[in-house]
């Protein structure tokens, strides 16, 4: 197992990991996730917060069968590249779905789920995962 997670290391990413807030360049309009100090398109440092809708589609996926230590609990679990409807691609676990149901272009929406816990007395990490939308 890895060392216990430092609380501050996780706490500083609440906006991104709980609410999917990223960045938008005031100069060229490029949106990205997570928020960066410098726009990857035009180099501007004028970046404002941007709220993503959480809707997207799967562009590739895999099933993790030999996870890194600390993630054994859920194995095997699906991980996907999800293209958000606003453009950026994010990597995340898929949830509430059977591996054989996953396909290219499958629509998904963001949900908050437990990602990892650190031993019995350790902190629990939550974050975004994606699932097929509840219709």
């Amino acid at each position: 197992m890895g060392r216990p997670m430092q609380v501050s290391r996780y706490w500083r990413h609440f906006k991104e990991k709980y609410r999917l807030i990223g960045g938008k360049c005031k100069s060229c309009g490029h949106v990205h996730f997570p928020k960066r100090p410098v726009c990857p398109e035009c180099g501007s440092q004028e970046i404002e917060e941007f709220q993503f809708s959480g809707k997207g589609k799967v562009i590739s996926w895999t099933i993790v069968r030999n996870p890194p230590s600390g993630y054994e609990y859920y194995k095997p679990y699906p991980i996907a590249l999800v293209e958000l409807e606003e453009g950026p691609v994010v990597l995340a676990q898929l949830t509430d779905v059977e591996p054989e149901e996953i396909d290219f272009g499958m629509e998904v929406e963001m949900v908050t789920r437990k990602v990892r816990e650190f031993e019995e007395d350790g902190i629990i990490l939550y974050g975004y995962k994606f699932r097929p939308p509840i219709k």
Partner: protein, 385 residues
């Protein structure tokens, strides 16, 4: 600018070295290289290593290895660029010689991976990814490559069997290499019967976790004459290196190694050659799909045709584009931070005409070493003097 040449090589077999520590492996390879070059002292040491702090709780490898190898009070540092650490260390050594600051430089690449539990090793390798936005979600390094593999097969219509041909070629060549971890040929069926690690990527699509060390001695062409005959000199004719986004999901293109293209173009320009002049390629086939993407990105073939070269048999020793002539990462083994130096040693063997699996009349060879999921790449051109 002074012309850098490699005058000595040394290495240990790649494998599970339960009885040897990181320092034992590094010192053995380093002393072998010094003996091969006929030098008894060097001006400095560059150590290629990715994750010694995680794997064996040891950093400060410059001091450790120079001290234990008896090099005296030389400058010595570790060079880290994930799995491209070895290639980067070779290039730092070459730069030191070219600059005129140092005349005889030692480079050793070393990684000791089997002292860690397999799931911890999986974790440490994933440190080359983006910790907060990739590893956080429980992705392994294999899984990141599996995401690329699935896209490659879909985009260009290849099957898992097609990509398995890269593993078959690597194992066929590795069988001739006494320093390789796997010395047994395999078939497509072997790959297809191996279990999924991260679908569609199977155990035999991936290079093994291993221990090993390799070393080279670099000096100037002028100085080299003091130590070896011309036939034993290999020129470092060109080199380039570039990065791409550390996070795979931030890439503009998932099926093109932009950093490999930039690094290769720099290396070709410096060497004054074109890709068609190259006789063999030691590319970074940590995963079968990466062999295909590498061939495309360094300009051997166009996009989507990398796997076609394997299907047509052109990557074999007697093909137009021999790759992984001593087994590559897949069969020789992939002690991550050492791999780029192993590639360099193998290229030197080919160019001296000493390879157990010799490419006939090889004059120019290329090594390409990938760190991260294509995020940090070195390309080096080696030429017979």
């Amino acid at each position: 600018m002074r012309k850098p040449v490699i005058i000595g090589v040394g290495l240990t077999p790649v494998g599970e070295h339960w009885k040897l520590a990181l320092r034992d492996l590094a010192v053995e390879a380093l002393l072998n290289a010094m003996e091969d070059a006929g030098v008894d002292k060097v001006d400095s040491l560059y150590v290629g290593n990715m994750a010694s702090g995680s794997f064996v709780e040891q950093e400060n490898l410059g001091a450790l290895i120079a001290d234990w190898a008896g090099l005296g009070n030389v400058p010595a540092v570790k060079v880290e660029a994930a799995c491209a650490s070895g290639g980067a260390a070779v290039q730092e050594g070459v730069k030191a010689v070219m600059s005129g600051l140092e005349d005889v430089v030692a480079v050793v690449g070393v990684e000791k991976m089997t002292d860690a539990w397999p799931s911890d090793a999986t974790r440490y390798l994933a440190y080359a990814a983006d910790a907060e936005w990739e590893l956080f979600h429980g992705v392994s390094f294999v899984a990141l490559n599996a995401l690329v593999m699935r896209l490659y097969m879909k985009e260009y219509g290849y099957t898992e069997e097609d990509l398995a041909l890269f593993a078959v070629n690597a194992h066929a060549n590795g069988a001739k290499n006494p320093y390789a971890m796997f010395k047994k040929p395999i078939t497509v069926e072997t790959v297809m019967k191996s279990p999924y690690v991260a679908d569609p990527l199977k155990l035999f699509d991936a290079s093994p976790i291993a221990d090993g060390a390799a070393a080279v001695i670099i000096t100037t062409e002028e100085k080299a004459k003091e130590f070896v005959d011309k036939a034993r000199m290999v020129e470092v004719a060109g080199m380039g290196r570039a990065i791409d986004t550390i996070n795979l999901s931030h890439r503009k293109e998932f099926l093109f190694l932009r950093a490999a293209k930039v690094a290769a173009e720099r290396a070709y320009k410096m060497a004054g050659i074109e890709v068609k002049d190259i006789d063999f390629f030691e590319i970074h086939d940590a995963f079968t799909v990466m062999a295909a993407l590498s061939l495309e990105s360094i300009g051997v073939t166009e996009r989507g045709k990398g796997a076609m070269l394997a299907k047509e048999g052109q990557i074999a020793i007697d093909g137009d584009y021999p790759i992984q002539t001593l087994g590559g990462l897949k069969a020789r083994g992939h002690p991550v931070g050492a791999t780029g130096v192993y590639q360099t040693v193998e290229a030197v063997w080919q160019l001296r005409g000493e390879a157990p699996n010799q490419v006939p009349d090889a004059e120019i060879g290329l090594t390409q070493n990938i760190g991260g999921t294509g995020s940090n790449i070195t390309v080096t051109i080696l030429r017979r003097v």
